[in-house]
Symmetry: C2
Subunit: 339 residues, 2 copies
């Protein structure tokens, strides 16, 4: 397997492919952001307060950018995609809000998690509001095919979140079971975001599939890297505490690779921490040491690289367009994420 | 105002209009139930477990029955409405699940609330799953107009739920503010359910409006009666604890009417219980006594009756059909609810 270029120099380039995408699509993205802000308007003050807190907090807007990029590459009417790009971001944001509730996370995007400030009640209900708003936005686009893609994605995400509950705190969770969760809870929305452009322009099935594959593969890699960052990141750069997954007993790639080769004593460590959630001081560092011993983080990175290579291959099927190269570079860039 | 007939004899008739509706639409309803069960199938066992627990637990299925009745009256192709009727029930069920989480309710439909058995996590996420499934079902119907109606309703419901958060624990909440919440969180889905039939058959605007009004008005009355039952019902018949709203400091019609005429001492009682949620033994009985003193429950009933009268008037616009009478009777029947 060829080593992706971004792997060679670990420092993110001063202008990343994501920045490039944002710059090229700036005018369109401004329209999307306007739609997002408009949809958060409500005579119930709590809704804009909470939504703005979360959405204005930034985030990379990677999903709506993918929707816009796909639309630009396939020549879809851009204004038609604005509500769809906004819808995709809303689905993502609603998921974050509900994730924070259920995970009892303490931080998100460098700020206190919304549920700690506004309460669980508000997080669940405003999440529902954003979710339903995303459907209102979708309906605007007048395409039942796109509606089917996005509503399918929403169902798959929800199913993935439930699946994750059943793999958490169970060290028997296999790599395929983990990847199944990742595909559902994260990659499905990336795939749907990428598909919208070719579907709107009635591109042939091969093209739709290529964009879908591209989105699916970078989505999987994105989540694997995310799961690695929860063990390795600088929490200041990451914008949230590290070690959250460990505390919650989530079975992610690094843990799975460490458990895979664990001896009896190590297994009992994972049983106590991940399954019984009995965590003492120094346990997080001990977990990191076990991961080091079994090359668990290296293996996770190789796994992510495999998907990125597949994403680049899918991207090679996309028609020639200046943004095709950017999508290809974006795939590599995902491996260099530090937050 | 003419007194509705069902008011005269307070005992529910041996065969209620709801039973009649179920009997007439039995064959169609069976198809709807099949769709509901099929949608709950999943390779994630927790989903059918939790959904079945809730959906199989019964419930009156009043919303899907209204959808089917509307379709039958306006001559819509019945099979086309099955996924829509199922979608409406799913939206309702998802709302219940999220309500139970946020309200920390102890019982629902005579059983322990789902969140107490399966955990808050599962309730939020399975709620999301049902909600997204409802959109998949809607997309099947191929009608963007119906999709718009149902996605609008979903957004209004979510907004109403958030609004309710902001009126809770605030004894200054006015009757119009309460009715605004009721319209959003409950009546909007009744209205949408009723509208589907005439919209699918492209009935004229007056007809669509009549069905919408009918649904909206019975929905408002339904919720007012619900809020009364939380103070007056026999908890065994109701299938959940009474006094939940009081404990949570919800501002519903009976409290609003009692607060309206409260003297200084009474106001401080409501401030302590509803606003500060400091509730001692005997407080619930004291609240009932204050409601009695100020005719708060009587006033609530009269308010519900007003909406039922309006619903009957709206129903009179509906074309002649055997089920038109049933809808009219159903309006009265809502006033006699004991659970």
């Amino acid at each position: 397997m060829q080593r992706p270029s971004a792997q060679r120099d670990k420092l993110p380039a001063p202008s990343s492919p994501l920045d490039h995408l944002s710059a090229v699509l700036e005018r369109d993205m401004r329209q999307v952001n306007e739609r997002i802000l408009k949809c958060m308007e409500s005579d119930v003050p709590l809704i804009p307060q909470l939504a703005r807190y979360l959405i204005a907090a930034g985030g990379k807007r990677i999903r709506p950018l993918l929707t816009l990029a796909g639309a630009a590459i396939y020549g879809a009417p851009m204004p038609k995609t604005y509500p769809l790009a906004a819808a995709v971001e809303f689905i993502h944001t609603a998921t974050l809000l509900h994730d924070d509730v259920v995970d009892e996370s303490a931080e998100r995007r460098g700020q206190k998690a919304a549920n700690l400030i506004f309460g669980n009640k508000a997080s669940v209900l405003v999440g529902d509001y954003l979710f339903s708003k995303s459907f209102q936005l979708m309906v605007e686009c007048d395409s039942l095919e796109v509606l089917a893609i996005l509503s399918d994605a929403a169902a798959v995400i929800a199913q993935g979140e439930v699946k994750q509950l059943t793999t958490s705190n169970n060290i028997e969770t296999s790599l395929p079971a983990y990847l199944d969760v990742v595909r559902s809870k994260t990659a499905a929305l990336f795939a749907a975001s990428c598909q919208i452009g070719p579907v709107l322009t009635e591109a042939d099935e091969k093209q739709v599939q290529a964009m879908r594959d591209y989105g699916m593969k970078i989505g999987i890699a994105f989540q694997i890297v995310d799961d690695m960052l929860d063990y390795t990141a600088d929490s200041k750069i990451l914008g949230k505490e590290i070690g959250d997954d460990f505390k919650e007993g989530k079975m992610t790639a690094p843990v799975i690779f460490a458990v895979e080769n664990a001896d009896v004593r190590e297994r009992s460590f994972w049983q106590r921490t991940i399954e019984e959630k009995i965590i003492a001081e120094g346990d997080f560092e001990a977990a990191l040491e076990l991961m080091e011993r079994h090359d668990a983080l290296k293996k996770s990175r190789i796994l992510a690289e495999t998907y990125i290579a597949e994403a680049r291959q899918a991207a090679s099927v996309i028609p020639e367009h200046p943004l095709r190269e950017t999508l290809s570079d974006l795939a590599d860039f995902i491996l260099t994420r530090t937050h």
